[in-house]
């Protein structure tokens, strides 16, 4: 119930923000049905709305979608499906369905959990994005309703549970600094991509053979 409600309101904000960013209602719906990954969709809409380039919008949405590939690696042996069911399972591989499937005590419960959550969120998500997109056309200025701040809060809420180790907190803080410093000097969308480079550098070289450590990565 609470997952459905959260999905619903999250979807409404995305639909409204998409329309305000310049997407038509059909574009917002194709994005939701075909991409079906909340973080990537918010990022794409945000960059289009800020006047960023198509390339940076695609790259940011894609990089945010990389985590779904890692979910797929975990889910694939658990679900053990073939052919078109495998494509369907891949499409429904998102934060929520993976989270539910991977905490179940049995394989059977994991499969039921994955398909129920995946299909349930898919139906609700797209329904509410449509409602939001239609409402977005009628609402007018989204700032009046604080919808731009809703997107900030949504990204923060997605980030929050990941800030569990000193390294993640250090990377998050560095990403904020890099992005803010770059905003006035590079085109929209690039600051976010530049912040990802920081993460790649830290993830790849932290504690490598040379023994160099990133500050704050205390262990």
């Amino acid at each position: 119930m609470s997952v459905s409600l959260a999905t619903g309101l999250y979807g409404i904000s995305l639909g409204a923000l998409a329309v305000v960013a310049g997407l038509s209602v059909p574009q917002a719906m194709v994005l939701s049905l075909l991409m079906f990954s909340g973080g990537s969709q918010f990022a794409l809409v945000g960059i289009v709305g800020a006047g960023g380039t198509a390339l940076s919008a695609v790259a940011t949405a894609g990089l945010l979608g990389v985590r779904n590939a890692f979910y797929g690696v975990q889910l694939s042996p658990l679900l053990a499906v073939r052919s078109w069911r495998r494509v369907l399972a891949a499409h429904l591989t998102i934060d929520e369905s993976t989270a539910v499937a991977t905490v179940q005590p049995t394989v059977r419960a994991a499969r039921v959990g994955f398909w129920c959550t995946g299909v349930g969120v898919f139906v609700l998500w797209n329904l509410f994005v449509l409602l939001g997109a239609l409402a977005g056309n009628a609402l007018g200025d989204p700032k009046k309703y604080g919808l731009d701040a809703a997107a900030s809060a949504a990204f923060l809420a997605l980030l929050w549970p990941r800030l569990v180790t000193p390294v993640t907190r250090w990377v998050a803080a560095s990403a904020v600094v890099v992005a803010v410093v770059l905003v006035p000097v590079v085109p929209s969308g690039v600051p976010v991509l530049a912040a990802a480079v920081v993460a790649v550098a830290v993830g790849w070289f932290r504690g490598d053979r040379t023994g160099r450590r990133v500050p704050g990565a205390a262990r």
Partner: protein, 106 residues
């Protein structure tokens, strides 16, 4: 962006995301089970989300602007620290900005 450019952006980005999902289900597990790869992927997600929070809050096109979004983010952070559910956090963020703007803040 023009309508046609937005279509291309939407479709290409969606296909990229779908291919990534499918790749996860198709590649042999040991390819990506290397801790360095998994760790880097997790950190990339953290960095992207953190940068998106920052840009979404203080960027206005290519300018930096402090307006109602910043206090709204503060309220959202307090709500998260108090373990409020996702939707409460988002609604409080929107409500804070809406009320501050109704009161005359940019």
């Amino acid at each position: 962006m023009s309508g046609a450019t937005i279509w291309v952006t939407v479709v290409v980005a969606s296909v990229v995301c779908l291919v990534l999902k499918l790749a996860g289900h198709l590649v042999p597990g040991h390819w990506v089970s290397h801790p360095r790869v998994a760790r880097t992927a997790a950190l990339v997600t953290v960095a992207l989300l953190a940068a998106l929070v920052a840009v979404q809050t203080v960027a206005s096109g290519q300018h930096l602007a402090v307006d109602a979004r910043l206090p709204a983010l503060g309220v959202a952070a307090v709500a998260l620290a108090l373990r409020a559910p996702f939707i409460v956090v988002v609604v409080l963020g929107a409500l804070t900005a809406a009320l501050l703007r109704a009161a005359g803040m940019a």
